[in-house]
Symmetry: C2
Subunit: 294 residues, 2 copies
């Protein structure tokens, strides 16, 4: 089969063998935002045409391609959601050259009953956690980071943290950004920010420390960005570990980001395991194996 | 004497009697940013000329006028700082028509040793807290809110919270702002945000709830701003009350802002007392009474 993780800014296609292994891969910056006039069928055929010609006739898509802004909306499946639940909620798409199905997103509620949704991350979480006796804690860092708890191979709850977008907004639109110059993103200033996040005073106070410490001459302008990043990621990680102190956390994503999160998780008492984005291929294979293709 | 609270965007002048009472007041949008080429002397004379002509010859300034961007930099006095400490740290300014002195800002360290500074707020805090047996907790809401603890008439410690600026950045530069329309700033959505701030998950998760609850149809776009404001102010207030549960909090500032903070403080278990900006006049009178004018 062919698995495609088709997000907002990127398309990652995998040719997957009967054993679930990746035979071939293709990554292009052809996210759904770059496809005009709804020409998703043409875009997909251009990207995976050779594999179709070679006889593949099953295509499983995950990610924002299944959102209202994508090819066809695939309604959310509510937690708990595992590979079989997601396979039962697949949405078919008309396509001339193969059977195409879209993985649904997952909806849930946090501890306080507030609504949550994810789309795309569920496939990566299933792909990774199935290997760990079907349970554990996963963290997918990003603009809107997700923390998901998996039990018995099913996502039972998850939360979203606006860490990446808040960093960009604070850096781009407040006094904090005006004193920053580019510099290393990890290292001692990042670690100092993570430590800061565990001290009294709260996030809104801690971030002012970027300015105060710079004014006091204890933080240089090329380290200020890493310090702010450490404060925000530290707050996210402490919230994620609040009821899971000492837990293994499976961090899934791009290496430069999972490296930072792994440092923060270790500093906050968790045990990080890093996984790259090919977790999506494994999740697509597992969901595809549960699907009815006839 | 004449007391002038001269900030970034506004000048508030008070003619103060020997008993410390306000005889006359004048508020103009002639902050230090609007004074070009360092013509502060002319600006001051234009604003308080009639009072000088009537015989006043002592002028005490507080606020950003004493910063590097102001008329003359008045070095910070370190905590603990009361009226006598501030009076001992006054900086003289040359002025042809009267004796002019500037109140220093205050520097300190928070519980974790991180540097803190304030300039202008110290005068308001002294003005209010002196009436309450010289002790207590003060909150000055704003772009950069301050929480100050006063003991024996002296500011012993304080913290800054970037609440107002973070609200503006999140509203102006993230997905949260794109779904907001103007609406009431207080009421049920604000209170719901304050309650949200006390639930598990942390600030970066709570703010995503503005989007999630809107998508779920449980929050309308004209209430989303008040909900976000409640989340942020709630986080600030909970941090401010962390070691002062059940405390009286003197909230000093513009009525529309102290009203919101009073609601949040009451919801978080504190007891708010609201004070308006004329606290500055009282503080200037107290500091002026301690100063050497000879």
């Amino acid at each position: 089969m062919i698995g495609v993780d088709w997000g907002t800014t990127r398309l990652r296609a995998f040719r997957i063998g009967r054993d679930g292994g990746i035979r071939e891969r293709r990554v292009v910056s052809r996210g759904i935002l770059s496809v005009s006039d709804g020409r998703f069928a043409e875009a997909l055929r251009e990207e995976i045409g050779p594999w179709l010609a070679a006889g593949e006739d099953r295509v499983l898509l995950s990610g924002m391609i299944g959102s209202r802004q994508g090819w066809k909306e695939a309604p959310y499946v509510h937690c708990p959601a595992g590979a079989a639940d997601l396979a039962a909620g697949l949405t078919d798409i008309a396509f001339d050259w193969a059977k195409v199905k879209v993985v649904p997103g997952v909806s849930g509620n946090d501890d306080a009953g507030v609504a949550e949704v994810m789309r795309g991350e569920e496939t990566e979480v299933i792909g990774v956690l199935t290997d760990f006796e079907g349970g554990g804690l996963a963290c997918l860092p990003g603009t809107h980071s997700k923390w998901a708890r998996v039990e018995g191979g099913r996502i039972v709850s998850f939360t979203t943290h606006m860490t990446g977008e808040t960093y960009a907004a604070l850096r781009g639109s407040t006094i904090l950004g005006r004193m920053m110059r580019d510099g290393p993103t990890d290292g001692a200033p990042f670690e100092a920010g993570v430590r800061r996040s565990g001290q009294p005073g709260g996030l809104l106070h801690h971030i002012f420390g970027v300015r105060a410490e710079t004014l006091a001459g204890r933080l240089i302008d090329s380290d200020a960005g890493a310090y702010l990043s450490g404060i925000l990621i530290g707050h996210e990680v402490r919230a994620g570990l609040a009821h899971a102190s000492g837990a293994v956390v499976h961090v899934i994503g791009a290496p430069e980001l999972t490296l930072l999160y792994a440092q923060a998780i270790a500093a906050c008492g968790g045990f990080p395991e890093r996984h790259d984005g090919e977790a999506a291929a494994r999740g697509l294979a597992l969901i595809g194996a549960e699907a009815k293709w006839n």
